[in-house]
Every structure is written in C-alpha cells, then in structure tokens.
C-alpha cells in the first residue's frame, strides 16, 4: 500500500536541511557512527555505498509527528513542499529513530527539539506541482 506523505520543507531549518542532507546525501560512514549495525547493514544493502538522502521530523507537539511517522512505511512516496509548490518526490527506503544522529546532522530547533524521527529516501525526482489550484 503506497501512501503519499506531504512534508513541509519551507521554513529556515528545512531549507538548510534539504541542502545539507538531501541535495547532499549523507555518507553511510557518518550514519554508521550512530546507527546500530543491523540498520547500517540494511542501508548498505539498499544504497550499495551511495550516500543516503536523509530527512527527519521532530516529535511535534504532544508527539503528533511521532505518531504520524509511525504510520510511515517503506515504499511510501514523500512530497517535499515549499512556497506552495511540491518540488521534490522521493521513495521511503528505511526509517529509524535516533536522536543522537539527528543532533549530529541538524542540531536542534529553538525549542531544543531535534528531527529525531528519521526516514531515508531514494528515487528523488524534481517536481513542480503547485499545491493551490
């Protein structure tokens, strides 16, 4: 069951994250510093040495994002949105909860939260889909 995920990526943090870890995917060696070996093995099998486009969400107020992240599945299609346009699509290949990795990749937001509910993408495709009619 492939589902579509809408991922806002227009605020100041998200714009930086997009450049840092999607446009410039993360080497597996960096991920391996924080992920358990079974998760590293899984990513190695998927990416075969290619760096890994990586995204994450904060827990959200009352854990709202965490609950949504739990519903995310491998194979789901993520649409990144900014300025009213869905500008990139990608397929979820793997997900992991790892606060230490998120802190290393992105630090924290103003509230001290970090984007610890991570998911990894492949088949990134530029899109130009206006959201409004």
């Amino acid at each position: 069951m492939t589902r579509v995920v809408l991922q806002p990526a227009g605020d100041e943090y998200a714009r930086l994250h997009y450049v840092d870890t999607v446009e410039n995917p993360v080497p597996l060696l960096r991920l391996a510093e924080f992920l358990p070996s079974n998760e590293v093995d899984a990513l190695q099998a998927i990416y075969e040495g290619r760096p890994v486009p990586t995204w994450g969400v904060t827990p959200g107020e009352g854990g709202v994002n965490h609950r949504k992240w739990e519903r995310l599945s491998v194979g789901d299609v993520v649409l990144l949105a900014r300025d009213g346009v869905l500008f990139v699509s990608g397929v979820v290949t793997f997900k992991a909860h790892n606060r230490r990795l998120a802190l290393d990749l992105w630090k924290t937001d103003d509230d001290g939260d970090t984007w610890e509910y991570l998911y990894f993408l492949d088949d990134l495709r530029p899109q130009s889909i206006p959201q409004a009619n």
Binding site: T2, V5, A45, V64, V74, L79, A81, S89, D122
Partner: protein
C-alpha cells in the same frame, strides 16, 4: 494538487502528514512521482536503455534487432498480463521502472516482465529496475517468459510461445547480479 486530492483550492501544506489511501491513490494516479531515474551520463543512460538479454546475444551470434526486441517484450508482457489477470482484477501497463501494476482492492503488486529466446537463466536488468525491486521489496514479482520463438524476418518479426517462470515475491538479492556496464567517476586532479 489540491484539486486532485479534494482540498480547498487555497490550502497549503501545514504539517508533516501521511495521507490516507484514497488521497494517496489520487495523487499517485494524477502525477508521475515514481519512475525512471536516468543516469546523469548520457552514454550510460543510452546503454541502460538498450540493455538486452545477454544470453540472446550469445545464442544468436548477434544482437537482436530493435524490432525483434520489441516483439519479444510485447509477447512477454501479453503472456504476463494473462497470467496475473487470474488473480488481479485491475492490471495496467506502466513500462518504467516496472512493467505491470496489479491491484486487487487495497493490495498492490508491481511486476517486472522479461522475455527471452534463451532458457531464461540470465536476464538483463537496468539499475532502476534493480533499485525498484529493492525499494518495493515484498511487493514486486518477476515474470520471465523464456524460450520465446522468433519467426518472420529481422525487420518484421513474430514472437510466440515460450515457458513462463514466476518469482512472487521476487527476492532480487537471492539471484546473482553481474554488472555489464559501470558509471565511473574519474579521480580528481
């Protein structure tokens, strides 16, 4: 997109949101979100697009002509559609990066179809086909129509017959991948 999903016209994405299946299906049907990712190197993309069954080339002593290749593929896809139609009421041809999209209620199966005049021990796969099989692991099947008979002429061929082999689910890494072309990033300096 709002029109496709049924949102209000001026609505914008406010938060991380996993859409329900109905909205997801409408977007997936309405936009080309999953598909062929060509190599950034034109020569490699060209080779990938032209990949053919290596056993066909060896057995015939020459590469198959474009017309023969198309006839083999067409025959294999038609046989595969008849095969999967027994259990999947809704089937459509996709082409890239997989051949058939099969649906039954909320179940989805992607099918990679290969046709060959050989015994079907080896088939050609593009990088995108391999990637797709891994990403959609558990929801992908491989259908190989082997031993297809080519008749007619090189420019006006007819493909027929053959034996069907199906791997469902397709565990791609249980087979052996042997690269026939690399994309090489040259050393700096």
């Amino acid at each position: 997109m709002n029109e496709v999903v049924g949102y209000k016209p001026r609505a914008i994405v406010q938060g991380f949101n996993v859409l329900d299946q109905d909205k997801s299906d409408r977007i997936l049907d309405g936009f080309d979100l999953i598909g062929y990712v060509p190599s950034p190197v034109p020569e490699v993309a060209s080779v990938e697009a032209e990949i053919e069954d290596p056993a066909d080339r060896a057995r015939r002593g020459r590469g198959v002509s474009t017309a023969e290749k198309l006839a083999i593929e067409r025959h294999a896809v038609e046989v595969a559609m008849r095969f999967f139609a027994k259990n999947w009421p809704d089937i459509r041809e996709v082409g890239r990066p997989y051949d058939l999209d099969c649906r039954k209620g909320d179940q989805i199966l992607h099918v990679e179809v290969k046709g060959t005049t050989s015994e079907g021990v080896k088939v050609g796969l593009t990088r995108n086909e391999v990637r797709h099989a891994r990403v959609f692991h558990g929801r992908v099947a491989l259908f190989v129509q082997a031993g297809i008979i080519l008749s007619g002429t090189e420019t006006d061929p007819l493909a027929s017959g053959g034996t069907s082999h199906v791997w469902n689910p397709w565990e791609i890494d249980l087979g052996e991948l042997d690269p026939v072309v690399y994309e090489y990033t040259v050393p700096r300096g």
